[in-house]
């Protein structure tokens, strides 16, 4: 049925007309307080997703104008320049230039600027003004600038740039009302600031601009800005999901490049210099320095924390505190969860009739999920530490200190941050490699990151240590020592393979690093907590869905088909089941490592995630969940025998198994992330092959040597 025009027309107008709520993009240098401002502006109304093809977080939030109208705000990754050198910066550039089909090109841009470092921050602003969109410049951290002796005149800056300038202290929620007011304005001014393109470059800019307008459907102003960019970075960093340039534009670009190379003109230096000259003139006008710049508080702290002796002592203390917290503090909440889940299992066991359904619930569902949820506290502690190190600014100092040891294996300090994060979980670790500009260095870091012992290995280590060492006679220090040994083996492995890869597969010039050390800041607990909750939720969602599913499947495979003799021992039943048969097929491969088919079943199921090994062992060895779970599994494992009556879990086998988990690639989520990050199946497959291959070889050597020595 056709609607009468007086109903349909206003509806159309509302969507397409000037009434449509504007989309804002928030951009700024790293460490300018952009995320704090974004959170303050949008509160909890955020949607976190991914840019398809790249594992870069896409955060879209909703803010309300002074009149209560919703406005979309896209939080773009931090960047120093639109001339992208890393995937993060490439996403920023592509969204602003409208090169991504998956993200709307923003109507207006909020440039967040660290006021205490105005010149450097204005470089990006300067590039963004070229885009000709309405821009709001937010002078964040005004308090820090004033303390440092820089008095900035926002009015003067506003006059010179011709755009709205808002002084702000996002941490103290100052200036937010003014920002909202500016965002609500319908008549936000366009940049009046005109910057003359240096004469030698002008013809090339005009040429490319014309081509971009004609062949790449850009608007003239965006085309001019993009032409300037293309002449500095030659489109060197491209990420998945970005629309490629037309062949005509590429041709023109190549011909100009060739011409300049012949003449020996350094066009990119000329462009950057002329921008900085314009910025310096501007700053001379806008900033009044009240005193000569002396060493700041951060400088004084740095004198100790990056000192060649005290710096390392402090770094060691931080690392020690991190591991101490994971191993000891986490015990209390862990036991609490364990007790309650066990009680639940006991209650179900007691209140249901004997049968398959009861078995499924107790052995499949509750035991399986419990094995995972108990180590939520450790994950939370790790993320708390990583968040703390990042938000105080210490993480960059740790990277600075680690630069020297990292250079021995051919990487630089920035690679240390992903590796440290990988102690918590390889996934955020691998995502943190985005700040490494060199593609080869980034790939090497991604390849070795999963060797750092992540928190998912903890339950396996803990179970094996419990099986290996009797709890009463062996001191706790020995157990902690054994655990640290595993961490050390993994870390050495990561460094060793990085060294090997940098000398073979990824031969390249020594890496070059420039890294900003942000001023020290008070840790922002709400942000850390928020991140911890996000991570915990992701983890629990996993435990509640996929791991639950695997536990049920595993229970099914180890229960069916039923042994023809109903009075068969649980051992015989497992051997007869599908899981047992699969394990037996695998046995010849893993027997040289001292593993039998039941361990084989655990290895296969824990390919999804390492922690599944523990729940698998619980299911396979038919542990009744009456008392303390780890102890129950431990006792079951200790009494497990080979068919000839020999003990299965000898100390040597326990040790070998731990080492197996140090090296083997047993994590589907990591495989998926590496696939997305590297945009091909080649690297995740290579990673599985080299890691699991190494695990087998190392375990073979350990087990056979151990046997020969009589262990």
């Amino acid at each position: 049925m056709k609607l009468p025009p007086h109903i349909s027309l206003p509806e159309k107008k509302r969507v397409a007309g000037p009434e449509r709520s504007p989309v804002y993009a928030m951009v700024g240098n790293p460490n300018c307080g952009k995320t704090t401002l974004f959170n303050a502006l949008t509160g909890l109304r955020q949607k976190v997703g991914n840019y398809p093809g790249v594992t870069i977080e896409k955060k879209i939030g909703e803010a309300y104008s002074q009149h209560g109208r919703p406005m979309k705000v896209i939080d773009l990754p931090g960047a120093y320049s639109l001339a992208a050198r890393s995937p993060d910066e490439a996403v920023l550039r592509d969204v602003l230039l409208g090169r991504r089909a998956d993200t709307p090109q923003p109507d207006r841009i909020i440039c967040v600027v660290d006021s205490s470092n105005l010149e450097r921050n204005l470089y990006l602003v300067h590039q963004i003004l070229d885009l000709g969109r309405p821009v709001i410049v937010v002078l964040n951290m005004m308090d820090v600038a004033t303390t440092a002796g820089h008095l900035i005149d926002p009015k003067k800056l506003e006059e010179s740039l011709g755009v709205t300038v808002i002084p702000c202290e996002a941490v103290h929620h100052k200036g937010l009302v003014e920002l909202r007011l500016a965002m609500s304005r319908a008549d936000l001014p366009l940049a009046r600031h005109r910057w003359d393109v240096p004469a030698p470059i002008a013809p090339a800019v005009a040429d490319l601009q014309a081509s971009l307008v004609q062949y790449d459907t850009r608007s003239p102003l965006v085309a001019r800005a993009e032409a300037l960019l293309l002449l500095t970075d030659f489109d060197s960093v491209r990420v998945a999901g970005s629309t490629p340039l037309s062949s005509r534009t590429i041709e023109i670009l190549a011909s100009w490049r060739k011409r300049w190379e012949g003449e020996g003109t350094d066009w990119s230096a000329t462009l950057i210099r002329s921008r900085y000259e314009a910025i310096n003139r501007l700053c001379a006008d806008v900033i009044r320095r009240t005193r000569e710049q002396g060493p700041s508080v951060s400088d004084r702290i740095d004198a100790v924390l990056v000192h060649s002796i005290f710096g390392w002592l402090f770094f060691g203390a931080v690392m020690a505190a991190l591991f101490f917290s994971i191993f000891t503090l986490a015990e209390y909440p862990k036991n609490w969860i364990d007790d309650h889940m066990t009680a639940l299992g006991g209650w179900v066991q007691g209140s249901m009739a004997v049968g398959d359904l009861r078995d499924l619930l107790t052995h499949g569902v509750i035991d399986g999920v419990k094995g995972i949820v108990v180590f939520l506290p450790q994950i939370l502690i790790l993320f708390f530490f990583v968040g703390l190190l990042e938000s105080t600014g210490y993480m960059a100092r740790a990277a600075f200190l680690m630069d020297r040891p990292m250079s021995k294996v051919g990487l630089h300090g920035k690679s240390f941050i992903p590796l440290l994060g990988s102690y918590a979980c390889a996934i955020p670790g691998i995502m943190a490699t985005r700040t490494i500009e060199n593609a080869k260095d980034r790939l090497v870091t991604i390849l070795v990151a999963p060797l750092m012992s992540c928190s998912a290995r903890l339950p396996v280590y803990l179970l094996m240590i419990a099986t290996l060492l009797p709890s009463t006679t062996v001191a706790t220090t020995t157990k902690v020592g054994l655990m640290l040994l595993m961490y050390a083996i993994g870390t050495l492995g990561a460094f060793g393979f990085a060294w090997l890869f940098k000398r073979t597969l990824f031969k390249s010039a020594p890496p070059l690093m420039i890294m900003e050390l942000p001023p020290y800041q008070r840790p922002r607990l709400p942000e850390i907590t928020r991140q911890m909750i996000e991570r915990a939720w992701l983890f629990l969602k996993n435990a509640g869905t996929i791991i639950l599913g695997i536990s049920i499947l595993l229970w099914f495979f180890s229960t069916y088909p039923k042994h023809p003799d109903p009075s068969a021992t649980p051992d015989a039943q497992i051997a007869y089941s599908l899981a047992g048969r699969a394990g037996k097929i695998l046995e010849p491969v893993i027997k040289p490592l001292g593993f039998d088919w039941r361990i084989g079943v655990g290895l296969v199921t824990s390919f999804y995630a390492r922690e599944v090994f523990v729940s698998s062992m619980a299911v396979i060895f038919g542990v009744e969940s009456k008392d303390d779970n780890t102890a129950a599994i431990r006792d079951a494992l200790r009494s497990a025998k080979w068919p000839d009556g020999a003990v299965l879990f000898t100390p040597l086998v326990c040790f070998t198994l731990m080492v197996y988990y140090v090296f083997a690639m047993q994590c589907m989520s990591t495989v998926a992330v590496v696939k997305r990050e590297t945009n091909s199946w080649r690297w995740p497959l290579f990673q599985i092959a080299y890691m699991t291959g190494t695990a087998w070889v190392v375990c073979f050597v350990i087990y056979q040597t151990g046997r020969a020595l009589g262990f």
Partner: protein, 85 residues
């Protein structure tokens, strides 16, 4: 101002801690050089070395920047006499 008595060029990594120098020339990998300049580490900028021999920690334009050894090797600086800043 008369020329400083000692204006030999040296790589940034050899600059003593606490000394201030002017950046004369940046060589090496094209895109890395570009990023250095974009971060304010360009020719004619004044740089104060804070610490470090292998990895250099510097102050440029109000920012603390860390450069690894190879990066610091590619930046040639000219020492300024004390108090010239």
């Amino acid at each position: 101002m008369s020329r400083p008595p000692f204006n030999a060029r040296m790589p940034l990594c050899q600059l003593a801690a606490g000394a201030t120098a002017r950046i004369c020339e940046i060589t090496g990998d094209e895109s890395f050089v570009q990023r250095l300049r974009e971060m304010g580490f360009g020719e004619a900028a004044l740089v104060t070395k804070i610490s470090g021999s292998k990895t250099s920690l510097c102050h440029v334009n109000g920012t603390r920047l860390a450069l690894n050894h190879d990066a610091a090797m590619s930046v040639l600086v000219e020492l300024l006499p004390l108090g010239a800043r």
